[in-house]
Amino acid sequence: MLFRRILYWSNFTVIRWQFLITLLAFWGAWSYLESRYNQDDGGFWIMMEGAIRIIFEAVLWLCGFSLFTAFIAWIWFHFRNRNGDVQVKLAVGEKNRAEAGLVPVTIEIPGVVRPLLGTVRARLVFSKMRLSESVLLDLNVRAHGALLRRAIKGTGAIEMHDRGIYDVEEVNIFFCDMLRLIAIPFTIPASKQLFTLPRELPPKQVKAYPNTTEEQKHRIEIPKRVEGEYLSYKDFEGGDDVRRVVWKIYARTGDIVVRIPETMDPYASHLYFYASFYNALGDPDNSLFETELLNVYKDKVRNLYEALQKNGFDMRLPHDQETPKLAGMSDKKNELFHIAAASWQKTKRPDEFIQIRKAAFVTMSSAVPAEDISRLLQNLPLHIPVVAFRLSDAISSPLRLKFRHLFFRPRRTPADKLRRPWTLSPLRIRLQRNERELQDIFKKRGNAWLISSNA
């Protein structure tokens, strides 16, 4: 956090690295020339000194002019914004949908005058002082037919690696002179939420059938068992065969109930896909590893969800947690958003969350303890597929390298820095141990798979 804080405040230093390095390089060049040639034949140094003087003065004038225009542009915007009513528009990806990674973000700010030949840049400040990459606002926005622009905007790639919601708290604007020696900052408060979706993976074919009948829509191959009010009992009603009354229950509770026969319903409509974010092995709040594992798991869940969708059934994705509501998002269900916004939870075990009668497909991570899964599987009908994702290999080993990567570096992502520590992480060892147990359980059960997250 301290590092982030330093980074954040370093934004306001006005003087840029380019200025300091240029100054240093010029000083070095001058020192070298002075020490080497000032001792030589006077004629040489006399002319050289003359040339340096011309260059120095010309560069000084240019720099002065350059800084002046940046300052004027800053002052102008300052006065335009003195009432604080400048509204920044942000847009992410296409139609505000973007997958995690390098995300194109468009920033539009009205009432800005650029420094002459200089640039205006903007950076988003997310919660906890996380800074985005800077975006060059190099395009003009004009009303139709208007000559003067009403705003400037620009699109730049911003690293949004984590799948989920990003709270934008500020937009920092920088007025850069043409030589990029200084960047005068201006902060516009903002309150906007952006989100990124899990990443799309290569499509897969997964077969599953719905297990609930909300509408008699699809005829299914294996009729499903339909039960009564209390699982296999119901209250006695007129017309019921008294011979079916369960007297043991009557003796214990005083309720007269009858045993009902199981019926088989050949119709089903909705495919319930249960994806559990239960994680009992780690500390979900405070670990970079956990965040990255969650990212990978979300990608997998998304991939599975979309693969199941291809079976043509209506899908239901029950949630094991409350996800934040996003301002401006319609109530119309957006399952991908829910997957993106979910986080690891420790409160609702899979056997508590998954409704056995409805479930058509169950998935979870290998962070669910083996005994919890075992408990779930005891009651889960055999025909319902269960998939668990192996999280121990979600973060690649640093030794894993493709041949072409010997010659060309792959693009670095924030997860890369976790690769080496992950190999020694105790969490990884705990996960591996749990995965071995899961493997045994799944082997015994059948119709259950432990799948690598790195596949």
Partner: protein, 930 residues
């Protein structure tokens, strides 16, 4: 949607960056290499080709590293490839060919690798462009600053010179500063953005150009003054001693300050620009007469002898004139001649004892047989242009040496040269015919050896094409026919050369020579001959001419016979002295032109076809006493005196450069050494002085001679030079100390200059820094005063408000700002809460009462009530005293320099407006009539 790798888009990004970033860099590299080539003849292999290799390496590397190639692996592969190719070349047959091929390969491969590294830095290392561009600027600056390279001495000429030479690289630095952030990695360029960027670049460069034109114009007089100063530092030639000499019709002309290898400007012939001294012309034509003079030009100790110890003189070459203008019958220099084997060094610009060598001269001599390295010392008289480099053909090294003071009146400078000379070359061919049996035998031996060259089948085609080219026309057809007739019986190239010589030596029936030497050939003038020309006249009619005729005619005859040859200018060497063997004296009348013929493996050999001139064989005056050769120095220190000389005659010298056994070294760190000056000679310029003349900070040269009595450390190969310097004897015994003369102008000249120069043209560095400091300080002060200006503005507006309502409004704004700047900042409170809770308890300024009146007037009842006007006026005048009472005068003043606080006032978050909130409005309403 996230940004996924996309090959076509990435290629477009690369193309944009190649266009905007790599191409301008390549252009500047090209210009820089051009400067470097002009200054260092060692590089002279064609800067276009060098730039091509460098830029190719840069473009390939940039493209690879743009696509994230790994540097270690790719660079390792590159070095491996380099090593394999070098290994293969090393194994090829042919010793000299391999040497040549290896030299070429190493040069181009080094350039390619240099380009590769530059490409890597540009593509990968942030801010590397700053280092690259400043480095290029430094290199350019070094190569354009030499006064000898600046031809124009006028203010406008100097302005143009600097604009043309310095502007590109400085514009490049600024351009890269401008461009690089725009092309930062994550900025995705499309066609529209690229178009806009191009337009912006044009605009930017226009601004840079304008500023530079303005600045150069402003400083042009300063530049001119500096240039003139450099000219005054050069002692003019001894003009008083010059004899009348008709330059128009002579082989010599006054020297000018042109660049080595550059053609003199048109119409400049004969101009005396104050350089003094004569040099051979860079273009020679066949004229109707030739003028000669008898003053001494230079003398030389040539260490070239026959096996029996007798001197073996060599012609001293000045230039090769390889281009021919048939219309003017003039031979001129061509710096683009293939296999250029001239050494481009200006001896006058070499610091004392400094050596410049160029191995490409050896390579381009194309000679492997009968060659050896010979040395010569050349002492230039003040009659000779001091920038001229004269030496036997194949001179590849030049070192400046001092002239003994007792000969200072005759010789003003001297240098030592090394030549890769042919054993088959000497001055005895036609000019000094036979009479000496040893020389005759030598000549026959020479011819016999050259007969081994049967033809030019294996000669380089470029060389053959260039050195056998002839103009077309009837004259040259006649020469072809003549050459065919002369050489019809000659089989080998040397026999053809001898046949041409014999053609000039032929006699008539009476035994008289047909071709005669004369300095007055007379005009061609036969009106009956339509193609009458000097050359035609000489070959076919008068047969009378001087060296230019013989050299020119023999060149065309030889070329017509398919023999590559070239026109050479220099000085004929005449051995007149028995007393001082190996010493030769050269007079202006020995200025000469002759022919050099190329023989494969033997290289270029002198053949002088000129018929002997009896008048010229005798020296115009007897040879003088040769100057004393300077002692051999083992070390020359270039540095600054760190202390004054002590009574014990020792002083400390601080230095970073030395010449150690004739090799230049740049030390990594500045070193201080104690010098024992008890036995040394001290010179100020060329005048002797005493040790006490040395003041701390003076630039001095310390020379220590090679002396058996001294314990001299010998250079140790592979040992760091700084370490070797550390092992030098302490104190170091000096033999000579040269104090660099300070720039001193005569009082009347200084007066003149003061009148001439405008005050602004004479800015010193201190003044520039002072002015810059003042400008920056003013800017800073201006920024610091912004809150005060706002205060004054608000105060003034309050004071001049016309109506009470306006006054209330303005007083309200003024009070908010003033209280804020005094340190009581308003948080999220409403103005009324602010007044009630914060201001009045602190200042007791009546702000709450004022606010209630103000809010009522503004939002409820616009009519003034009794007491409103007085209360508002009282409040507006009470704000400042109230704050001053509480905070103190100086605290209030200093608070107005708090920019951050002022910024916070201006920078309100949404909702933090100066307008009262709705709820406050009602709180502030006072509905009760007073």
């Amino acid at each position: 949607m996230s940004i996924a790798p996309n090959t076509s888009r990435n290629v477009f990004q690369l193309m944009i960056r190649l266009l905007f970033e790599v191409l301008p860099t390549a252009l500047v590299i090209f210009l820089t290499l051009r400067f470097v080539n002009v200054s260092f003849s060692g590089f002279d292999t064609g800067y276009e080709k060098q730039a091509l290799y460098f830029n190719l390496g840069m473009a390939i590397a940039y493209s690879l590293y743009f696509f994230r190639a790994r540097f270690i692996i790719t660079f390792g592969l590159l070095l491996l490839t380099y090593w394999i190719i070098a290994f293969i070349i090393g194994k090829l047959p042919g010793e000299f060919d391999v040497f040549r091929a290896m030299i070429s390969f190493r040069l181009y491969a080094t350039l390619f690798i240099g380009g590769w590294i530059a490409g890597f830095l540009l593509a990968r290392i942030r801010f590397a462009y700053i280092i690259i561009s400043v480095f290029l600027a430094v290199v350019t600056l070094i190569h354009i600053s030499g006064a000898d390279k600046i031809e124009a001495g006028t203010a406008d000429g100097l302005k143009a010179y600097f604009l043309l030479n310095a502007l590109p690289v400085v514009a490049y630095i600024l351009y890269m500063l401008f461009l690089a952030p725009v092309l930062a990695n994550l900025v995705v360029m499309d066609a529209k953005r690229a178009g806009k960027l191009f337009f912006r670049i044009i605009l930017f460069l226009a601004v840079v150009l304008l500023v530079f034109i303005w600045q150069t114009g402003k400083h042009k007089k300063d530049l001119q003054a500096r240039w003139e100063k450099t000219q005054q530092e050069t002692p003019p030639g001894d003009k008083g001693q010059q004899q009348p000499y008709d330059e128009k019709h002579g082989l010599l002309e006054r020297g000018r300050r042109d660049q080595p290898g550059q053609k003199p400007p048109e119409g400049a012939q004969g101009e005396d620009d104050g350089e003094g001294g004569y040099r051979l012309k860079d273009s020679m034509s066949m004229s109707d007469r030739m003028s000669q003079a008898d003053y001494i030009m230079f003398c030389s100790k040539l260490k070239n002898y026959f096996p029996d110890g007798s001197p073996k003189p060599l012609y001293f070459v000045y230039h090769y004139l390889t281009k021919y203008d048939p219309a003017r019958e003039t031979f001129t220099r061509d710096t683009a001649m293939p296999f250029n084997d001239e050494l481009h060094v200006d001896p006058a610009s070499l610091p004392m004892y400094r050596m410049r060598s160029d191995s490409t001269v050896i390579k381009n001599s194309l000679a492997t047989k009968s060659r050896k390295v010979i040395e010569a010392e050349v002492y230039m008289s003040s009659n000779t242009w001091k920038h001229a480099l004269l030496g036997p053909g194949g001179t590849f090294s030049c070192q400046s040496i001092p002239v003994d003071s007792s000969f200072g009146k005759i010789f003003r400078s001297a240098y030592k040269i090394k030549s890769y000379a042919s054993d088959l070359n000497n001055a005895y061919f036609v000019y000094n015919p036979s009479a000496n049996p040893m020389i005759e035998a030598y000549q026959h031996q020479r011819f016999e050896e050259l007969r081994e060259v049967e033809n030019y089948a294996d000669a380089d085609s470029t060389l053959m094409a260039y050195y056998t080219q002839m103009p077309t026309g009837r004259l040259y057809d006649s020469i072809h026919a003549l050459a065919a007739r002369i050489t019809k019986d000659a089989e080998t190239p040397v026999d053809k050369v001898i046949a041409v010589r014999d053609f000039f030596l032929q006699t008539d029936k009476e035994g008289n020579r047909i071709f005669r030497y004369t300095l007055t050939t007379g005009p061609p003038g036969d009106p009956n001959i339509p193609n009458a020309s000097m050359l035609w006249n000489f070959l076919f009619r008068t047969h009378r001419g001087y060296c230019t005729y013989y050299a020119g005619a023999s060149i065309f005859l030889l070329r017509a016979a398919g023999i590559p040859c070239r026109f050479t200018t220099g000085f004929a060497t005449i051995d007149r002295s028995d007393k001082n063997k190996g010493w030769y004296w050269f007079y202006a009348s020995q200025a000469h032109a002759w022919t050099q013929v190329y023989f494969p493996e033997y290289g270029w050999l002198d053949f002088d076809m000129t018929i002997g001139n009896e008048d010229q064989r005798e020296a115009p005056q007897p040879d003088g006493t040769p100057p004393l050769p300077p002692p051999e120095p083992w070390i020359v220190i270039q540095g600054k005196a760190a202390t004054e000389a002590t009574p014990a005659k020792s002083l400390d010298v601080t230095f970073g450069k030395i010449i150690f056994f004739n090799e230049d070294y740049q030390l990594r760190k500045i070193t201080t050494l104690e010098i024992n000056a008890s036995v040394c000679r001290v010179l100020y310029g060329k005048k002797d002085t005493t040790l006490s003349a040395i003041q701390p900070g003076d630039s001095i040269f310390v020379v220590s001679y090679h002396d058996a009595a001294k314990q001299i450390p010998i250079p140790r190969p592979g040992v760091d030079i700084d370490r070797q310097v550390g092992d030098f004897p302490k104190p170091l015994v000096a033999d000579e100390i040269h104090i660099k003369p300070k720039d001193e102008l005569k009082p009347e000249e200084e007066e003149k200059r003061k009148k001439k120069e405008k005050p602004e043209d004479a800015l010193t560095w201190q003044q520039i820094l002072l002015r810059t400091g003042i400008a920056m300080g003013s800017l800073l002060l201006l920024i610091l005063l912004i809150p005060s200006f706002i205060f004054l503005w608000l105060l003034m507006r309050t004071g001049v408000a016309g109506t009470i309502k306006k006054k209330a409004d303005r007083a309200y704004r003024f009070a908010l700002f003033h209280f804020h700047m005094a340190g009581d900042e308003r948080g999220n409170e409403t103005p009324l809460q602010y007044a009630e809770n914060k201001i009045d308890p602190t200042y007791n300024a009546g702000f709450t009462d004022f606010m209630r009146r103000y809010l009522r007037l503004k939002y409820s009842s616009p009519e003034l009530r009794q007491g409103d006007a007085e209360a508002i006026k009282a409040f507006s005048s009470n704000v400042r005293p109230a704050v001053r009472r509480k905070r103190g005068f100086f605290n209030v003043i200093s608070a107005y320099f708090n920019l951050a606080r002022a910024y916070r006032y201006m920078h309100r978050r949404p909702g933090e407006t100066d307008k009262p909130a709705e709820t406050e409005l009602f709180d502030g309403l006072d509905t009760k009539p007073e």
